[in-house]
Amino acid sequence: MALTKINIGPVHPSTHGVLRLVATLDGDTVKEIEPHIGFLHRGVEKLVETRMYMQSPSYMEKIDYVAPLSYDELYVATVEAALGIPVKERAQYVRVVQLELQRIASHLLWLGTAINDIGQLFSVFMWCFKDRDIVLKLLEEATGGRMFYVNMRLGGLNRDLMPGFADRTYKVLDYLKNRVGEYEEYIESNPIFMERMKKLGVMSREEAINMGVTGPVLRGSGVDFDIRSAYPYYVYEKLHFRSQFETAGDCFARYKVRINEIKESIRLVGEALKKMPEGDALGMPIKLIGPAPKEKEVTVKRELPRGEGMMYMVTDGQRPYRLSIRAPSFINTATLQHLPNGHRLQDLFPILASIDTVMADVDR
């Protein structure tokens, strides 16, 4: 049968942003996928070179608009490493709380959009969105921003937590725990979802390691590697963090990893709030930031909701000489060249959803 080339995206309901996939189809079977990226390239890395250190966090947040706080923290941590500034203890706990809340929000958004891609079930999307909104309200209360927070300062935070934040958060966590359990029960008792996720887009352990994927995609393939436990930062060691992984390597495993991560994050936030010491958590005022030593190279890595984020910075006095970002979505998206091959066209979209790409993160 003659091969058909079909152009999916950059404007397509399921590509979440401006990903373009050129699919070669043999009948209904996907023969080859060619991802095209770069529609959202803003040149953030170059932009950072022209600015002083603490002028950049708001740009960093826009790299991944689904989990902005994580990138904010990654960048600030890089600058802290470059300038050699220690983080206050209470600030470490608050950062962990906010990062994990951000992870919950990000995974909830993923769950909604993925279910919508898989089965055109907009209801779950709306429910997840509503629950995510509750988490965003907490973050808004803590940081003052609804979508973009810019809450990290060198050595601490822009704002400490409000009094009573912990009690409100416990309530939200209880609610979320129930809701996530409900979603899990609903999705896993639905045979249509199960057959649309199981044995789809299988990535073996070796493939996953060789392709360099990170985050839930890697852990779905049976590799127990999480920066939070492999190279613990802040107080993750004290919080009895357990990384979540599955061995099947299919779309369902990746879904399961994310669901379990939401649960683990809920537990982490609760534990961090309980163990949080009193004290000062405020960071340095932006104007007091002194120059970094010249040509100092630092590399900082963090577990972002989408995978391993890494920043490499070469300093040059008051501004970075070079900043290089390893974006997890970029490397994870590359697997789209291999994963859908041999599957039906219809199955391409669950696979695409299970990778969880954010195109702003891919293109930067």
């Binding site: 089965g119 055109q120 079930l121 209801s123 979802f193 039906r344 066209l345 219809q346 199955d347």
Partner: protein, 325 residues
Amino acid sequence: MALDPIIVQAAINAILFGVAMLLVITAFDYIFGWIERKLVAKIHLRHGPTRVGKFGLLQNAADFLKLFAKENIIPARANKIIFLATMPIVAAIFAFIVLILPLQPNLLGVNLSIGLLLVFVLLSFVPILIFIAGWASANKFAAIAAQRSVILLVSYEIPLFIVIAAIAAFDHSFAFTSIVAAQSATWNILIMPLGFVVFFIALMAELERPPFDLREADSELIAGWLTDVGAPLYAISLFIDYTRVFMGGLLVSLLFLGGWLGPAFLPGAIWLMVKVLVVALFVVVLRATSPRMRLDRILHLGWAYLIPLSIVNLYLVYLLAIGVI
């Protein structure tokens, strides 16, 4: 040439009934459209339309005006005539099917002795017309949707026909009036529950409703066979969408739920409308709570379950008719 006055009278009656029925269809489409939007919004934890008119009641009118005021874009490579003509023809087929369905023994356009057959013969034209429409728009997504339409045709027409064969055999008629009259003691849904399940699933596929909305498949094929249609044609497609739910509700009510039969304090036609509305609401809830199925799964369901079940149903009805069970 002198016309027979009885035929003239019948023709006038049919035309009057047709006009009245079109008004009923439009009214149902309008109200159902609003109910669907509101109900789905409630399930989604949204508000649905609230701004235009009280409770957003005029929202659909505003939408239709907007859609018809827009330019009708025809893709350069599309086959113009077929592209423009298929959608109205599909709409007309659904409207025509509603016209030959009776609302009450004394409220019907034409009492055809082969009404049941005619309805399902007309209905099986629709996937073919959709195939033609999708192909004519010269869009690859529409073409894929067109092929899926044929897949649905081959897997769901057969069980549908076997079930209506059972109904016609049990009630000794192809006329809707006689089928409803035969249900005065027990509704068909109690006589052949298996047949009802098969019929309803096959009808959902026929109506292109979730979980069988493969031809439109939002998240995969953008809008399926409607990907390239312009706004006015899209308005017609919305009309088709609601009309076929009305038609589906009428068919289910007439064939299985006793049609206009009901306690005497309300006229029969009202009872029928109530039943149609219940079926339609069920269809909406199904849309909001069930994910789309895989294509191969749908084929499997059609061939491995629905066809054998419909044959079992036929046999059970045969045993029932000869008095064995």
